[in-house]
């Protein structure tokens, strides 16, 4: 069944002219996009099978502008869909016809970097990679690294509590943000956290991160920056079977070794990626692990030696170390382009369930069976070290029957993830995509409690209203 959108509010649609006039008085002319052609660029995100044309698109340049826009929307009961770069795989930034899109992409400056305190204050529309680039000259970086880091914004990362390959060691967004400037729906601007650790009172920062744009709009953030290790080395380990690769991951971590990253690719993904990125991946293996170690040459060698001993016990067939920065970059380029490369051979939907580490092999196997039962193909590429799986279900977007099958297979996989003790989404967010599956993970009372918390910030459901929670049985207070 295709994902439902709420029926647009006719009264709001009827007031479009009046709303645009009102908004036009609040922001600079170039910040208001009303023509259909230009709005089209904002009608979907990375969940491209779904799209809706918004009422208008606002691209403010200052926190004050964001504040006046939100205040206007609250007073005029206009829905708001916050947007970073629109790279959400879960449809977190897909608009609806009776909503404006409020994008922060023009607010993309690095405001201050303090290497001694290891913090940077940035505007929320800055891209993830730009933060690391701005501090790289001193050997520092910003740790969360979603595959879309070239395009995705810190605002979007905060919205979804994004992860990435390196969060096995360094944590996800919520562990790397120290403060935010948050604009509440009534226009109030609040500073939460700062350059210090922890805050008095409730952990509002922790609540805001991962709230998918439902509680307010983040316009600035204080992020934690870290000094990079002396060196980093990704190493490829090829296995005949996914089961062997999975067991090897468990054994490495069981030995007390937490590498910076442990990434998994199955045969299907290896072929797709190698054909596109020429990363030097072996094509004669059934599963591949990219394990990254870091430190000095000597430290990396020592840890690697430990890992190799374990991998040999698990019948590793192929080991390839990167011997230069270029080789290392190629290995990561392959991994990070996995979604893009897959998109060149087929349309896909990307699942994001996380399971207990001991269930990895089992869930991989079940995923294959589920997808095959719908007559479709799957490519698996994911963060094995923390059990965050990304089966890409391949289908043809122009074939509605196939799309329905792909979505049904995705649902079955996620339900299975929950059944074995996992969750629906590890780092992509719920968005519209998994909204209607929330009842498989939560009891009604759990969802009601979350909605009561949501209502503290937005009792009238104006902020990103069609996301996260099933459309029925909504609570307003």
């Amino acid at each position: 069944m295709p994902i439902a959108f709420p029926i647009p509010d006719e009264a709001v649609l009827g007031r479009r002219g009046e709303i645009l006039t009102g908004l036009g008085q609040l922001v600079a002319p170039e910040a208001l996009i009303i023509s259909e052609d230009e709005r089209r660029a904002f009608e979907t995100d990375a969940l491209t099978a779904y799209r809706r044309m918004p009422l208008a698109v606002l691209l403010p340049s200052t926190t004050t502008e964001v504040s006046t826009v939100l205040k206007f929307c609250a007073q005029n009961q206009v829905k708001v869909v916050p947007r970073g770069a629109g790279t959400s795989l879960a449809g977190g930034a897909i608009p609806q016809e009776d909503a404006i899109v409020l994008g922060v992409s023009k607010m993309n400056r690095i405001l201050d970097v303090n290497f001694e305190n290891r913090t940077a204050r940035v505007q929320a529309g800055v891209t993830n990679l730009a933060v690391s680039q701005a501090v790289a000259h001193e050997g520092f970086f910003y740790a969360p690294d979603p595959s879309s880091q070239l395009a995705c914004t810190i605002a979007g990362n905060i919205g979804m509590n994004s992860g990435g390959a390196h969060c096995l060691k360094y944590g996800v967004t919520t562990n790397n943000i120290l403060g935010v400037t948050l604009v509440l729906l009534d226009g109030t601007i609040v500073e939460i956290g700062g350059e210090h650790l922890d805050s008095p009172g409730y952990d509002l920062l922790g609540l805001i991160v991962g709230s998918e744009g439902q509680l307010g709009v983040v316009t600035e953030a204080v992020v934690r920056i870290r000094r990079a290790a002396e060196g980093a080395k990704p190493v490829l380990f090829g296995f005949d079977t996914s089961e062997e690769a999975g067991a090897c991951v468990a054994a490495i971590m069981g030995a007390g070794i937490i590498p910076v990253a442990i990434e998994f690719m199955d045969k299907q993904t290896i072929e797709i990626v190698e054909g596109f990125a020429k990363a030097g991946y072996p094509l004669d293996v059934g599963a591949l692990l990219i394990i990254e170690v870091e430190g000095s040459e000597r430290e990396m060698e020592a840890v690697l030696a430990r890992i190799v001993v374990i991998a040999r016990k698990h019948n590793v067939r192929h080991i390839k170390e990167s011997h230069s920065a270029a080789e290392a970059a190629a290995i990561w380029k392959g991994r990070k382009s996995a979604f893009g490369a897959t998109g060149r051979v087929a349309d896909y939907i990307c699942m994001d369930g996380t399971v207990p580490l001991g269930q990895l092999s089992n869930v991989l196997k079940r995923t294959g069976e589920i997808v095959a039962s719908y007559g479709l193909r799957v490519a698996n590429v994911f963060h094995a070290g923390d059990g965050n799986m990304h089966p890409l279900i391949l289908y043809n977007v122009n074939d509605p029957a196939e799309q329905a099958k792909a979505e049904a297979a995705g649902e079955d996989i996620l339900k299975y993830c929950v059944e074995v003790g996992g969750c629906l989404t590890g780092e992509h967010g719920v968005g519209i995509e998994k909204r209607d599956l929330m009842r498989f993970q939560f009891e009604e009372r759990d969802l009601r409690q979350q909605m009561r918390v949501r209502a503290v910030f937005d009792p009238a459901w104006l902020l990103n209203p069609a996301k996260v929670f099933p459309l029925d049985n909504r609570l307003t207070a």
Binding site: F115, G201, R227, G254, C423, F442, R452
Partner: protein, 394 residues
């Protein structure tokens, strides 16, 4: 005074539902070792976790442990140690500072979002919390988060519950991510540095690629001479290497000596628990969080007006400060200094009348206060959980 000792989540739900119906305020209690922390709550009954003490799940291979709130912290630490694992955030033990006895519980570790010197590298309790179950003020058992390493499904109520000091609900199960224990821990010590210089040295160490897991400075006034401490952990060969690199890096400050393992271990416990300023016992104790480079200045500014002793953890970002309890434990001076630098100050130890009169936690601005009141009402509509423990209105 009624004392409720639920033995199960269902039991706790029934007790809370009844208390909500009767509007009976409840003090939530674990081991009672931190009762003297925070504002004195207003309550008529006690809701204790003393009969909910089981470890409900421990999968060493998956780095996850779940326990009922009354499980003792020491028991969990022992269990993890059997598998060469530990909690990443090094939770402090308030007993020495508060002169309390009994067993701290894992529920309180979560409720107070405890951490220790490794906060700068391994985060606080919040950062390791994968999930909690709790009873809300409606008497409903609520689940949030789970037991897996990454989870962004729905609003992160785990963060809200961790650090809420029992004002939003009664925790019935907490789940933490755990980490392998380091095979070797070693500490470098620089002597005789001023606060400002010491923090510069700590910043240099923390800004190096050598994975520092502890960075503290004990000024001369603490006793034993000024000592600046830098800790590294990991595989023995790696630790040796990083010690060497850090010594060269810090040459400009002083010749750094490696401390004997046992002495260093005791010292880090003393820093974690702030025992180095626990005496004399009639002094008030503050815990101040600010940006590391402003730590020395904040302390100096406070010392201009009031007589105080202090030491730094978290690379200078955490100041433990002891002062007279008179003049509301120096609250006005301390908060003014912290406000100027950015950060917050918590009154950790003071006589009950002082804690009732002074804001124990920095009072929020109006917009934040409104959100907090709203959150409290959304979870605890009749206001029965630990009323007044954090702020008078919550």
């Amino acid at each position: 005074m009624t004392r409720h000792n639920p033995t199960s989540e269902a039991d706790a739900c029934a007790i809370v539902a009844e208390a909500a119906a009767q509007r009976t305020p409840l003090a939530i209690q674990g081991g009672g070792t931190k009762r003297a922390f925070g504002r004195p709550p207003q309550f008529e009954s006690i809701l204790s976790s003393s009969q909910m003490t089981k470890v409900t799940l421990y999968e060493p291979a998956e780095f996850v442990i779940s326990a009922e709130p009354g499980a003792s912290l020491s028991g969990i630490v022992r269990l993890l140690a059997e598998h060469r694992q530990e909690l990443a955030f090094e939770p402090l033990d308030y007993r020495p500072l508060l002169a309390s006895d009994g067993e701290p519980t894992i529920g309180a570790v979560a409720a107070m979002n405890l951490s220790g010197p490794r906060r700068i590298a391994g985060g606080a309790a919040r950062d390791s919390s994968l999930g909690v179950r709790f009873v809300n003020g409606r008497g409903e058992a609520i689940k949030c988060g789970g037991r897996v390493m990454k989870n962004v499904t729905g609003l992160d109520l785990v963060k809200l519950m961790v650090g809420a000091h029992g004002t939003l609900g009664f925790l019935t199960e907490v789940t933490f991510k755990v980490v392998p224990s380091p095979q070797r821990v070693a500490t470098l010590c620089l002597v005789g540095l001023s606060d400002q210089t010491a923090i510069a040295a700590l910043s240099a160490a923390l800004g190096s690629p050598y994975d520092v897991s502890g960075a503290a400075h004990l000024p001369a006034k603490i006793g034993g001479g000024a000592r600046t401490l830098i800790r590294v952990e990991g595989f023995p060969d790696s630790v040796e290497y990083r010690l060497g690199e850090l010594r060269s890096l810090l040459k400009a400050f002083d010749t750094a000596e490696v401390l004997a393992d046992d002495a260093a271990k005791d010292l880090w416990v003393a820093i974690r628990d702030a025992t180095v300023i626990a005496e004399p016992r009639d002094k008030a104790i503050w815990r101040i969080s600010t940006a590391p480079t402003r730590g020395a200045d904040v302390a100096a500014r406070i010392a201009r007006t009031i007589d105080a002793r202090w030491f730094f953890d978290w690379g200078g970002g955490l100041i433990w400060l002891a002062c007279e309890t008179a003049s509301a434990a120096g609250a006005a001076t301390i908060r003014a200094a912290v406000r100027q630098a950015g950060g917050h100050a918590t009154l950790v130890r003071a006589p009950e009348d002082v804690r009732a009169a002074v804001d124990v936690f920095d009072p929020p601005i109006e917009a934040i206060a409104r959100l907090q009141t709203g959150l409290k009402a959304s979870l605890d509509p009749t206001g029965i959980f630990n009323p007044g423990r954090m702020f008078p209105e919550l």
